[in-house]
Every structure is written in structure tokens, then in C-alpha cells.
């Protein structure tokens, strides 16, 4: 009987994870796409040294971060995947969303400060729920760079 109720809870969690997870992911991607179009004017470079330009008078450190969690269903799928090996697409989309979201937040930060160009952009990814065994499922992405321009 106990085993049956465990299975029941497991199936419910799996269903909730699948339903809400997919919904949240679709919504997040939609929001990412619209904001990426809005912020396309802010240019981002990974170059260490900016080209000499008299309009680069002011500089400011800008950054964006996000902590994002995987859902129960995807974690289960990735567990299955670890038996066979290969691409774990459920985690790929998680990391993709987190990086793009952090990048957008950095761009928004630069825009708010009146800058158009960001140089020397670095990505920093950390798993913040380490030591929790199977619970690992949230990652933090921090993106930072130096915004240059006339400023405001």
C-alpha cells in the first residue's frame, strides 16, 4: 500500500512538472524572443580591448544574473538519459534559457545607464544547490562586462 501511494505521488509530481514546466518554458522563450528584439540595439562584444574611439568617454560595469530551476519531469528524463548517455536536451534548454536571460538583463542594465556597447563580456555559471544529492537542479548564470559610451 505504501509503495502504491509513493508511486501515486511520483506520478502526480511528474505530471505537475511536465505541465507547469513546459508551460513556463514556452512562456519564458516567448518573453526572451520579444526582449531580444527590443534590445537588439545594444551591442555586446567579447573583445578584451575596445577599439580607440573618442565617444567611449564613460565606462561602467554592467551585469545580469538569473537563478533558474529545472522541473521534476525534466530531472527524471535526464536521470533516464544517464543510463544510455548522449545529449541531455532537457538541461541544454535550461542552460540556454538562463544564459539568454542573464544576457538580456545585462543589456537592460546597460540601456538604463545610457550605454550602447558592452565589451569584454564574461559568462559565469554556478550550480548553487550542490551537496543535495539528487536535488541538484538550479543553476546561476551571471554575465558581466564593461559598458562604454557617452553615458548619461
Amino acid at each position: 500500500m505504501a509503495a502504491f501511494s509513493d508511486l501515486f505521488i511520483f506520478i502526480i509530481l511528474l505530471g505537475l512538472g511536465y505541465g507547469f514546466g513546459q508551460w513556463a518554458e514556452r512562456r519564458h522563450y516567448r518573453s526572451i524572443h520579444t526582449r531580444e528584439k527590443e534590445l537588439a540595439g545594444i551591442l555586446v562584444f567579447a573583445e578584451r580591448l575596445p577599439p580607440p574611439d573618442p565617444k567611449f568617454k564613460h565606462s561602467s560595469l554592467v551585469g545580469g544574473s538569473v537563478v533558474i530551476s529545472i522541473d521534476y519531469f525534466k530531472r527524471f528524463v535526464s536521470l533516464l538519459r544517464s543510463f544510455i548517455g548522449g545529449r541531455v536536451s532537457s538541461y541544454e534548454s535550461l542552460l540556454d534559457r538562463a544564459r539568454r536571460e542573464a544576457l538580456l538583463r545585462m543589456k537592460a542594465d546597460a540601456q538604463a545607464k545610457g550605454f550602447q556597447n558592452i565589451f569584454n563580456v564574461k559568462f559565469e555559471t554556478a550550480s548553487i544547490s550542490k551537496g543535495k544529492g539528487k536535488q541538484i537542479g538550479s543553476i546561476e548564470v551571471y554575465v558581466y562586462g564593461t559598458a562604454l559610451g557617452p553615458g548619461n
Binding site: 530551476s69 522541473d71 550542490k130
Partner: protein
């Protein structure tokens, strides 16, 4: 205080060099946030509480680094790098370091 992750500031000359300055914080989240995070681990999505917490801690680490640079008499910190590591369960260390300099 100018903080930048570039190695040099365009149009400005570095006149003095003080070496490495750093700042760090170790922060733990409280139980309420942990509970919410547990729920989010089922549904997926952003953990806003954690995002804010880490952002605050990063700011604090940066402030500490700036303080150290100020006490040396610097007016800028260049080539700044951020690093995050989770030390134990439920706590994260945010570490910032850079080079303190005087620029014209």
C-alpha cells in the same frame, strides 16, 4: 571609484599600480526561501529569491573590494573578475577581485 573589467580605460593613463584587491561574502539563504525553492524544483522556473540574494551578496563583495581599493588610495579597479562557488549545502561564496590603480 571606477570599476571595470577592461584591462585599461580608453583615453586614460594608469599612473600607479597597487596590485590585487579582493572582496568576498558567504551567504546562506533562509528556510522560507529554501521551501519555495523546493517547490520550484518540481515546477521549474526562475528562483527570484535566489537571484536577489546572489545579486545583493555580489554587491556586498564588490563594496568590500572597493573599500580595500580606497584604503590603498586607488581611484579605479581594473580587470575585475567575479567567481561563485557553493561551499556547503545552502550557502554560496561570491568572490570579486581586480587590480587597484590610479588613473588620470
Amino acid at each position: 571609484m571606477l570599476v571595470s573589467n577592461l584591462e585599461l580605460v580608453p583615453g586614460k593613463r594608469t599612473t600607479k599600480h597597487f596590485g590585487l584587491v579582493q572582496g568576498s561574502t558567504v551567504r546562506a539563504k533562509h528556510a522560507g526561501r529554501d521551501l519555495m525553492a523546493g517547490l520550484k524544483n518540481i515546477f521549474g522556473g526562475e528562483l527570484k529569491g535566489y537571484t536577489e540574494l546572489l545579486q545583493e551578496s555580489r554587491q556586498e563583495a564588490t563594496d568590500r573590494m572597493i573599500q580595500q581599493a580606497e584604503s590603498l588610495g586607488a581611484n579605479a579597479v581594473l580587470n575585475v573578475r567575479f567567481s561563485t562557488s557553493s561551499v556547503t549545502q545552502g550557502a554560496a561564496e561570491l568572490f570579486v577581485y581586480g587590480t587597484a590603480v590610479v588613473i588620470e
